[in-house]
Assembly symmetry: C2
Homo-oligomer: 402 residues x 2
């Protein structure tokens, strides 16, 4: 394989945020342009749900402080590492030594990339859930790993993700030495049950496998759902890293802040990789971590409640439509919507939606090649615009129902 | 090779900025602690040479703008790409289509990593100058390439770098398909002559090799020195990328901003890699590119003049000391200082300097394993503190002269 072939397998044309670069030609249009405010469901709207109060002010103070904040060791500034370690230890129930077990990264994507680059050698078998975050599979490809897909039958489940633990055990038995998954799951929003988490942890330990657990959305869990941090379980294996950051619920994505905590050995490798990747999480931006887990009283509860209301009202739109379904998300801001058979391909439908309805959604194939009848939305949007956009989606869909 | 062995080759203990994490034990101390203000020569001091005027204000405006600045396509926001392409085209004399030939990255380190990751497959031969930026060799290692060192006999040259072009041709003839170098050179500050640049360009073209040219310090060229942008030469090969950013002369390092421009094919691969590495250069931070190449009248000239004065006064300190030498830098803020034989190893000497003199320098071995009698300083410091620190370095050195 040469470098061109390698990168041909890493498409970004349909990736979230890239849609504005697409050229729409020869779309089989069957109806009028629908009026309404455009909505980009490929990511959250930080105008509708603003960044954590005080985040800009602590950034500004970091700039004023100057050199000490501009240049930090690769893992991050010592006093910020100490603060974040204390807060994440309390949140996740894990013991985090700020000097050994934590690294600050350019976004949670940076944390994932560093964790994968520090764990995968060419030819390594890596178990990956389907559906799961689209970059997971691309990272396995990039680092030359061999992916073993683990099915997750999320659709008719409640109180669990529906991950196929027997398939995971078979993957470990077949030599997979790394398992990577997001919880809450991206794109479905389902949360793993305690039994599932303990099952994954003890199986990884038994087979000597490493775990990368993406908990990006774990602060946004809806009432009645029980969330289990794998890192806090006594069954947790030594070789594991948990990934988290304030880009989603906290709307701090514009600052590109992420964190990874876990095994000193893996974090040590991640530091070495960060040294050649980006040197550090942007120095001034690191100051913004001060606001994380220190939001004003009631702010986080209100934010979760707002998102639950949007979720429920979008699910109500879906409920009225023949052949369309979505499992209510247990946490996070995603819905993974299943469509009936259409007369156009999923990718064509997604482009028509953008052109006719002013709505951007992410095709299911970004989360696994088999998801040809699904799309993902991030519903961290203005409530009314999102509901109206959801209705337009299905108005357009009816033009193409098979 | 397993992942532990791979990362054992990527040490960061002596890398610039990491020194505060070192534990100094059993140093063979031979004199008193020297009084004086501590100076960290491992990187520039953005308190002594402040960020470009207006940089914080455009950042703040980006935050106020909200979603449109927080989330951008992976390459960067369209209007910022257009502005940066126009400015870099004028600066470097190359035609840069903002939609095809440019990507904004998390620092210039990010640009280098993306360029290398988009060019090197395991087993590929890569030609790298010695001495040159320490991360270059580590990136070749990380991506599984095989390094072919190209000597640069910079010491007794003027008006040229002293690169061994015959060795470079031999490397291309032996199968190297990529050559990577910094100009001005890091750590020596020497600038490649026009003949050297044209020689490299035409040789790369003849052998079908790709080039990555790191021009990070190319805006800080001292009077009387002629600088040649390889990308603007008619001999330039199709497969090349130029790397640059505002972290050095402009003191914007705390924002982590970088840019790469060149071949549409390589930039396209870099976009795909950035999608899984960090998604984008931090959204709000991208706004700061507006100040780049738009500094107030006379600001850049004054900044270059200040640095030239510091360089000259440090060279004057060196000139008085038996067995110590440094080639005057043609551009940038580095001096690569050669030491006489000492009774302690270079790494021990560097640690003693930190402990006794309050001075941090970077050992020559970070730039090539053979540089056992050299250290690098970044002299973008307060003038008086830097001169005093330089004197302390040699006061300590005398204790260990062989």
């Amino acid at each position: 394989m040469d470098i061109r072939e390698k990168f041909d397998r890493l498409g970004v044309d349909n990736a979230p945020g890239q849609e504005s670069l697409q050229k729409d030609v020869d779309l089989p249009i069957r109806g009028p342009k629908l009026e309404g405010e455009p909505v980009d469901f490929s990511h959250g709207d930080v105008n509708a749900h603003e960044p954590t109060p005080g985040s800009f002010e602590v950034f500004a103070a970091g700039v004023r402080e100057g050199a000490a904040q501009a240049y930090t060791p690769y893992r991050g500034r010592a006093r910020i590492l100490e603060d974040v370690a204390r807060k994440l230890s309390a949140f996740a129930g894990a013991a985090i030594d700020p000097a050994e077990n934590l690294i600050l990264t350019p976004g949670t994507q940076g944390a994932l990339f560093l964790a994968m680059g520090s764990s995968v050698m060419p030819g390594d078998k890596v178990a990956v859930v389907e559906p799961d975050y689209f970059a997971n599979r691309k990272m396995v490809e990039f680092f030359g790993g061999e992916m073993i897909p683990i099915p997750m039958r999320y659709e008719n489940e409640t109180d669990r993700s529906g991950i196929d633990l027997a398939a995971l055990e078979a993957a470990f038995a077949a030599g997979a030495r790394l398992f990577l998954f997001s919880n809450p799951n991206n794109p479905t929003g389902c949360v793993y049950s305690r039994d599932e988490i303990v099952g994954i942890a003890s199986m990884a330990k038994r087979y000597g496998a490493a775990l990368i657990v993406d908990e990006l959305y774990s602060r946004q869990i809806y009432p009645g759902v029980s969330y289990t941090h794998l890192c806090a379980q006594e069954e947790a294996p030594e070789n594991m890293v948990t990934i988290i950051g304030p880009s989603k619920t906290e709307s701090l994505s514009g600052y590109r802040l992420g964190a990874a905590f876990g095994s000193a050995e893996i974090i040590g490798r991640m530091e070495k990789l960060q040294a050649i990747m980006s040197l550090r999480c942007s120095g001034y931006n690191q100051a913004v971590f001060a606001t994380w887990f220190c939001e004003p009283e009631g702010w986080m509860e209100a934010r979760v409640a707002e998102h639950r209301r949007i979720r429920d009202d979008l699910l109500a739109v879906i409920a009225g439509i023949e052949g369309v379904s979505a499992r209510p998300s247990d946490g996070g801001s995603y819905l993974f919507v299943n469509l009936p058979e259409l007369t156009v391909s999923l990718h064509t439908f997604v482009r028509i939606l953008r052109e006719r309805a002013g709505v951007i959604v992410t095709p299911g194939t970004e989360f696994g090649p088999q998801f040809l009848h699904s799309f993902r939305i991030n519903f961290s949007q203005d409530h009314d615009k999102a509901v109206a956009a959801m209705k337009r989606i299905f108005e357009v869909m009816e033009w193409y129902r098979a």
